[in-house]
């Protein structure tokens, strides 16, 4: 995994508190055995009407085309555990989310696939929304080494749990390799612990 230290690009403002994963990717787009085409499903029902005509939505606004950062409000990603949601955001070309707070499962899913989700103070978020709505061409720079975001003439502190920040900087955000290192201990625990239809050392597997 490549380290992630800096994200630079324009930002698209997505307004709304408690945006749930059903809105990020409506369930009918989950009918797939791959994640490949999910970018197209991103916010589908907010972007298109029932006749598939584009609606007034920032993601349909050419001024925001090619944005790498998504600005969101509090409680983003609530609801289902579907990784399809961060996958869709990632596959639509986004590398980072900047918000006020994120739902827990969503945050974990995003982190594991290298989609950075940082929080900022509510007043800073208000500034950022106003800025990119007024001047969509503004380039934002998120610096994970300094934990700051440069936007317009401001430098804004960003927040991320320290462990997650280190994981991004060192390219360890996908934990599988690390988890695999402990296979001996895990085998011992499997042998010791009860399981369905099995009481560990008492019964053996039936």
């Amino acid at each position: 995994m490549p380290p992630i230290k800096r994200i630079q690009g324009r930002a698209v403002p997505i307004r709304g508190r408690d945006i749930d994963t059903d809105r990020i990717v409506p369930a009918r787009f989950l009918k797939t055995v791959t994640f490949d085409r999910l970018g197209e499903a991103l916010f589908y029902d907010e972007r298109y009407d029932e006749k598939k005509n584009p609606k007034d939505h920032p993601l349909n606004d050419p001024r925001y085309a090619g944005a790498k950062i998504m600005l969101v409000e509090a409680g983003f990603g609530s609801g289902s555990s579907r990784e399809h949601a961060p996958q869709a955001i990632r596959r639509a070309g986004f590398e980072a989310l900047v918000g006020e707070s994120f739902a827990e499962i969503f945050f974990g899913n995003a982190t594991q696939i290298g989609l950075v989700a940082v929080t900022v103070a509510p007043e800073d978020l208000g500034y950022l929304f106003a800025l990119v709505e007024r001047a969509p061409e503004t380039e934002l720079v998120i610096d994970l080494e300094k934990m700051e975001l440069k936007a317009g003439d401001r430098v804004i502190p960003v927040f991320l749990p320290e462990a997650v920040r280190e994981a991004f900087l060192e390219g360890r955000y996908d934990p599988l390799e690390v988890l695999l290192e402990a296979m001996d201990e895990i085998r011992a625990m499997d042998a010791r612990r009860a399981g369905p239809g099995k009481r560990g050392e008492y019964g053996g597997r039936k």
Binding site: P26, V33, S81, E104, L176, L179, E185, M189, R205
Partner: protein
């Protein structure tokens, strides 16, 4: 200082602390379904890895299965493809699959407990946020993403940050006509949809202690709607009585030893909690949602709120919700017409849910113009419902009796709302577009309220329609 069940289970499953400060946690039971697992198996293959402990993973098919016509191939080729992928993946890796012809297929959070796979003290994961359901047994159970499903298949572990614990005591008693669903909707309204972020919820108190396992599951199920990834109850005699004799539960001498271990898992009386909340059972009313998230709810005999009653920071959100729901501030909830009544989902499609409704539904008819569906949670639930004559009661009342699956809870199968239809639904989520139409409207409610509304043709108070608790039956 004593410990909570959450801490005890956590410590028993910690393989080691990871360099990033999280814990590598061993998983006793991994449940998979067709929606969130195929990509995980593909990732495994890409890395040349195998399923490390196939005896700890169990599969079923629930989200995409049609509930009317079960012959294969399904009319939807994508649904068929997902089912085939799960068959292939489970066969290739030696995983037990409760397929459509097994007699044990059903919603993953219904079959785990009813087969005795779910046990106290287990860590349980599934690529599904309603995995919190299994916490009703004193398990630590939570939803994971697909990349983590891969981690569990490959290592039987996940990297997790330990949560704080909030004890929610529901004391006193529930009034007639008030159900477990109303309790959890009340809790979510009280603590907020983000209130549980960072917490495991421990549900306790006299009301919870008196509840059946099915009722406890309804509550634990919707922990995630309150933002809590984990929700659990301490195991007790009710838990043990439920599990005894189930196919995957311990047997004989193992059973006695297991019960002794399980008893020791319960939170100690002097355990320290990060937060405590007490709710008085008598204050809880039959509750329905009026908005687009599960925290936007009110007593069924109340009115649609006025955005002006809310703090300014929430007002725009409330206005947006009422616009979407096409409701007017001050309107009586009982004036809201329903087009669809859905009784199903991992929240409320267990045998006791259906039994309770059937008891009152007997001799009543679904109102003209209402499409009413009952989708049992599993094949075992359906079979028992047939045996007890419950299915007939529903059919005679005008409900369509369907085959088990997730169905209209999230409409990944052909069961869905059309246009801006309004559904009164025993499911768990009322998000915009949730039930398959981008403009469809969902009102969450208990099974009793769903049935009462189906009969009345509008949102209705089950105490009135069914004459529960001294209130006269209408008409």
């Amino acid at each position: 200082m004593g410990k909570t069940l959450y801490e005890k289970v956590w410590e028993a499953h910690a393989v080691r602390e990871l360099p990033d400060g999280r814990t590598q946690l061993f998983i006793d039971l991994h449940l998979i379904h067709e929606v969130t697992s195929p990509q995980a198996f593909a990732m495994l293959k890409e890395r040349g890895l195998k399923v490390a402990f196939p005896h700890r993973t169990f599969a079923t098919v629930d989200h995409i299965v049609p509930t009317d016509r079960r012959e294969e191939p399904f009319s939807d080729p994508l649904a068929q493809e997902m089912l085939e992928a799960l068959r292939k993946n489970t066969a290739e890796h030696g995983i037990t699959f409760f397929d459509l012809k097994s007699g044990r297929q059903g919603i993953v959070h219904v079959i785990g407990p009813e087969l005795g796979l779910t046990q106290p003290g287990f860590t349980i994961v599934c690529g599904d946020s309603h995995t919190s359901t299994h916490g009703a047994f004193g398990a630590v159970a939570f939803g994971i993403g697909t990349t983590q499903v891969r981690d569990v298949l490959a290592t039987q572990t996940v990297a997790m940050q330990k949560l704080k614990v909030r004890r929610i005591e529901v004391n006193g008693r529930l009034l007639p006509g008030v159900t477990a669903k109303d309790v959890i909707l009340h809790i979510i309204r009280t603590l907020g949809v983000k209130g549980g972020i960072g917490y495991a919820y421990e549900y306790a108190g006299e009301v919870i202690e008196r509840m059946s396992m099915d009722e406890r599951m309804t509550i634990a199920n919707m922990s995630i709607e309150g933002g809590a990834r984990v929700g659990y109850m301490n195991p007790d005699e009710t838990t043990f009585a439920y599990l005894k004799g189930r196919p995957y539960a311990p047997k004989g001498e193992d059973w006695e030893r297991a019960v002794a271990e399980w008893k020791a898992l319960a939170s100690d009386p002097d355990a320290r909690y990060d937060d405590r909340v007490e709710i008085q059972g008598e204050t809880i009313a039959p509750t329905v949602t009026w908005g687009v998230h599960p925290g936007q709810s009110a007593p069924v005999d109340g009115r649609v709120p006025d955005p002006a009653e809310f703090p300014e920071s929430e007002r725009a959100q409330v206005e947006d919700a009422l616009r979407y729901m096409k409701l007017t501030p001050g309107q009586k909830l009982s004036d809201v017409k329903v087009d669809v009544a859905f009784l199903g989902s991992c929240t409320n499609a267990r045998l006791s849910d259906l039994r309770e409704v059937a008891r009152y539904l007997k001799g009543k008819k679904v109102a003209k113009g209402v499409r009413a569906l009952v989708v049992p949670g599993s094949q075992l639930v359906a079979e028992a419902a047939h045996r007890e004559g419950i299915a007939d009661v529903f059919r005679e009342a005008g409900f369509e009796w369907r085959a088990p699956g997730c169905s209209m809870c999230l409409a990944m199968n052909p069961d869905r709302l059309i246009g801006d239809e309004l559904a009164i639904s025993a499911s768990n989520r009322n998000y915009k577009g949730r039930q398959g139409s981008p403009t469809g409207r969902t009102v969450l409610a208990s099974p009793l309220t769903v049935a009462a509304s189906a009969v009345a043709g509008h949102i209705a108070d089950p105490r009135e329609v069914f004459g529960i608790g001294g209130k006269d039956a209408a008409d």
